[in-house]
């Protein structure tokens, strides 16, 4: 039972690290601000979620009792509310600041204009 939990914990922690890394790669690769938001939401949801799940399993393995489990659950709940709110606020601020999203049909036209090879 103990070893099953430990294996599950490692799968969660390594999976979470993988998705955090993917989020970072996405921020570097994606072309503009709004598509980069989509990359950060990968690390916000799956990355943070899996790492928190792994830590919750760790508290069970170490038999620390309820308190750390409840605290980790609260972190997960607050992240689920605050991270989309913050992303929405940032996106809205960006639009008000005059940032134009680079859309598929428009991006192609721009590239043709600039003669960029994509």
């Amino acid at each position: 039972m103990q070893s099953v939990l430990v294996i599950l914990e490692w799968i969660c922690l390594l999976g979470g690290s993988f998705f955090l890394l993917v989020g970072g790669i996405g921020i570097l690769r994606f072309p503009d601000l709004f598509t980069r938001f989509h990359a950060t939401s990968v690390s916000d949801t799956m990355g943070a979620g899996l790492i928190l799940t792994g830590l919750m399993i760790e508290t069970l393995v170490q038999q620390h009792g309820f308190t750390p489990l409840v605290k980790l659950l609260m972190i997960a709940v607050f992240l689920m509310i605050t991270s989309p709110s913050a992303t929405h606020a940032l996106a809205k601020a960006a639009i008000h600041g005059g940032v134009k999203p680079r859309l598929a049909d428009r991006a192609k036209a721009q590239d043709d204009e600039n003669g960029a090879d994509r």
Binding site: F19, V22, I25, G26, R29, F30, D32, F34, T35, F37, H38, A39, S41, V42, D44, T45, M46, G65, F66, T67, V70, K71, M80, I81, S83, P84, S85, T87, H88, A91, K92, I95, P101, R102, L103, A104, A107
Partner: protein, 158 residues
């Protein structure tokens, strides 16, 4: 009244769970801080249906598993697109209908859209949400209104 009572019980449970010490001193401090917070919230008039949505407790437990499955699916899709050498994305921006009447319902729907990787709510009007999406397929899926209906059902406005 029922909201004030439930906030009080919630705060006491929170204190007990987070401290897990049962000495008279710490229990007394917990009671004092609970009553203080309760008094301040009543004075600020922030305990109402919107600030403490008691009526959504059970329906949230039904909606959350569905949303988590959706989030995992969308995550795998976006991850595949990030790591794909040719990065197959076609960013789209469109207005999507939202059928919720209350502000709380709209906030839950817009946050669900943003929480799902690949779609991002940019601004909210009376009955539409402007959505930026990484791919046109993601916005097609939103247009089928499955999530919209689930949220409306959850806040009990259908």
């Amino acid at each position: 009244m029922i909201h004030k009572l439930s906030v009080g019980i919630f705060l006491i449970c929170l204190w007990l769970l987070l401290s897990w010490h049962f000495t008279p001193l710490l229990l007394g401090l917990g009671l004092v801080s609970t009553l203080l917070v309760l008094y301040l919230s009543i004075r600020m008039e922030i305990i109402d249906r919107e600030g403490h949505p008691l009526h959504l407790t059970l329906s949230t437990l039904r909606y959350l598993p569905w949303l988590i499955v959706k989030i995992v699916q969308a995550n795998l899709d976006v991850t595949w697109r990030i790591l794909h050498p040719r990065m197959p994305i076609d960013p789209t921006q469109e207005k999507v209908k939202c059928s919720q009447k209350s502000d709380l319902g709209k906030v839950i729907y817009a946050n669900s859209i943003t929480l799902t990787p690949g779609t991002l709510s940019m601004s909210i009007d009376a009955d539409t949400i402007e959505v930026h999406s990484l791919t046109s397929t993601a916005i097609e899926e939103l247009r089928q209104n499955t999530m919209d209906r689930k949220v409306t059902q959850m806040v009990g406005e259908d």
